[in-house]
Amino acid sequence: MTEKLKEYHAPVWNESSIMELGYPGRRGLLFSEAEPNIRERFPEPEALIPASMRRRSAPALPEMTEPEVLYHYLRLSQQTLGMMGMSIFGTCTMKYNAQINEAMAWRPEVTELHPLQHEDTLQGALEVVYGMDTILRELSGMDQFVFQAGGGADAAYTSAVITRAYHAARGELAQRDEIITTIQTHPSSAATAAAAGFKVITLMLDENGYPSLDALKAAVSDRTAALMVNNPDDMGVYNPEMKEWVRIVHEAGGLAFYDHANFNGAMSKLRAREIGFDACMFMLHKTFGAPKSGVGGPAVGAYGCSEELARYLPAPVVTYDGDRYHLDYDRPHTIGKIREFWGNLPVIVKAYAWSRSMGAEGIAQASDISVLANNYMEKGLLAIRGVTRSHPNASTPRLEMTRYSLQQLKEDTGVDVHDVQNRMTDFGIDAMWTSHEPWLVPEPFTPEAGEMYGKEALDRWIAVLAQISDEAYSDPGLVKTSPHNQAIHRLKAGMTDDPSSRAMTWRAFLKKRNNGALGAGPHDPAS
């Protein structure tokens, strides 16, 4: 490093919880007194509320002015790093969510709809949903999409339940009780298969970074209900033998589901149906430019399938007769509801707006940029001391992300991937993503450059990691005690999900504090 990188510093407000703020009698809004004739008619306004519904005592709310409330929440927001610096969190496909798309989704034509309105009054909204359906059909080759699922795992579950319905209709469900997946497929495939009652068969990776055909052949049998797989996987490795995989699974009588969670690097380059898949899933809240919004939504897992499976789709399905759009509830073979109504409309509107403004060429270019940016980063990152790539001998380029390992750095310096994550935030960069469980690659990290950042931003990310590596080799304590520039210091491992030291509500906090359960607070440094 010739020149030290400039560090960031988070504001430290030491803000109390809102329940501890305020002064008796202070108000955000002062209401004028009721006019005399009103007072005359209702001398006791409380009496308008039936006695059984009336509170016995006033709620214990903080008494504050409006600006005090605004200051409080602005300060809290400033103490988080979220989306104020670079965030290239692997498998999350972070994208810019254009303001104009947000503005459209907040128009009253969207926000004031009710999903149970008569379809004659929903024509515009249904046109957007149907339009998104046709775009996804074009990208996948599937015959019908539904948007009911409230996320990717929800869509994977839709697939597992449709698999169940398909085999039940053929009288083979008792026999076909196994779903095959791979160790680097998103864990929601295994989880939803298990939730739908299937036994999960997991394939491990070969030297190439993906499971061998022999492993698949050893797993497939007359008990196979389906294959659930992503490609590229969560390490950015693309399995080029997928056509043969699907053929083998079909030959055994199973269905094949393509989890397109990692679609960015493959978008417009392949169609799931042409590879042979019976169904697939897209995440509108990441790949299609609607906000990723953290885990918890609002999100949409768009699930699409072949004509043969379409009869099992959750109802209603949005259809078009050439003149009008309809909500088709009359589907006797439907699996029923996966979620209420017909999808998170604001998310679909944003994804539709993104797709229409990008166009086919723009989508193809975004895909190219995401792969190019990742491979550009890979050159820079692998030049850093202590950084290696998973499956170093697999020479095929990774697509939109790469799984790296800091095992070498750890063995050399004692600095592990969590230390590096913490130190990164000192430069105003979101902590990088490590890996799903289990960690096949020790001390893993997985950046996904995406298409939104410029070359300078990628260069800075690489430079930050390079500097942290230098620090690890020269002054490991600096990295191991980081972050130094954050609103709070390092949390103790495992602390955030330990119920004895956490309270999710003020009432729970008081109760736990009175019981003496809350010992260490979040401000305590790691020991």
Partner: protein, 305 residues
């Protein structure tokens, strides 16, 4: 032993044993470990190979975890760090009681001298020792991640036991994984030996090849085995009693392999090993096999001779 080296790097060692000769022997290791055990150490950290691990095991300090700093040749025992640095960091995590380090019973194995006389390199299972290992988990998940290796293996063992069919012989290989099956049946087991169960009863303990073949005669049988040692041995190292002939008569599709996913992952992509001394049986076993890694969860793993 080690006093000079310890002083050279700035430690003030408490010397518990002074060997009589410059060239130390097994007995010196055993006496030292026994003295350390008495002194109440938290970890026996040793440099060496499988032979040293055996000496540490033989000193009967079973309540104290041991960890080997690998020195040179490939180890069969599962009590070693993957590199000297790794062993050092693991020791530090263990001594700091970091939640990333857990302790499990690990195989102590060493070269099988009988096999060497037959010109084969194989290993024998000598026992189990508590040994720390690093859990590969993301930090936030440490507190509440999954049911954990112990509970998962117990659940699989209960399932194996519950699904045993009457009139069928179940041969339980050595090790702590298969011991869980005996435990869930309420039966005693031989940790280092091979036992057999028929209709819920223990019909053979610590069986040799001939004993197994006698019990198997004219009977459908299953082999229940774990994965042994740091090199991931399935057959032939540590469970030689389950001979090539026993495996041949049982048949490949009647082999039930149980292992924690963490154990498979710790093999770093290396296959499970078979070394039965019979090329034909080794070939039959080569390929991919299902390993029970969870309740209603199998992992397909590569097997190689």
């Amino acid at each position: 032993m080690g006093e000079t080296a310890a002083r050279a790097v700035g430690f003030t060692p408490l010397v518990v044993h002074r060997p009589e000769e410059v060239d130390t022997v097994s007995a010196d290791t055993q006496v030292s470990v026994a003295a350390m055990s008495k002194a109440g150490v938290d970890l026996i950290l040793f440099v060496g190979g499988d032979g040293t691990a055996r000496d540490v095991l033989a000193s009967k300090a079973q309540h104290i975890p041991m960890l080997g700093i690998p020195a040179g040749v490939k180890m069969h025992s599962a009590v070693f760090g993957t590199s000297p640095q790794n062993a050092g960091q693991l020791a530090a995590l263990h001594l700091a009681r970091d939640s990333a380090a857990a302790v499990r019973e690990a195989e102590v194995m060493d070269l099988d001298e009988d096999a060497i006389r037959e010109d084969r390199v194989s290993a024998r299972l000598y026992g189990y020792a508590l040994s720390p290992y690093e859990r590969r988990l993301s930090q936030n998940a440490k507190a509440g991640a999954g049911p954990g290796e112990e509970a998962t293996l117990d659940a699989i063992a209960r399932k194996v036991a519950a699904r045993m069919r009457s009139g069928v012989l179940y041969v339980l290989g050595p090790g702590t994984t298969t011991r869980r099956v005996s435990t869930s049946l309420g039966l005693p087991s031989t940790l280092l030996g091979v036992d057999a169960v028929l209709d819920g009863r223990l019909v053979g303990r610590d069986l040799d090849e001939q004993g197994l073949l006698r019990l198997m005669a004219d009977r459908e049988s299953y082999l229940v085995v774990g994965v042994l040692g740091g090199q991931g041995s399935l057959f032939g190292r540590g469970n030689q009693q389950i001979s090539a002939e026993v495996i041949r008569r049982t048949g490949r599709d009647h082999i039930i392999v149980v292992a924690a996913l963490e154990k498979l992952i710790s093999l770093d992509g290396e296959p499970l090993r078979v070394d039965t001394g019979d090329a034909e049986v080794d070939t039959m076993l080569t390929g991919h096999i299902r390993v029970r890694t969870g309740l209603e969860q199998d992992t397909v793993y590569r097997v190689q001779a």
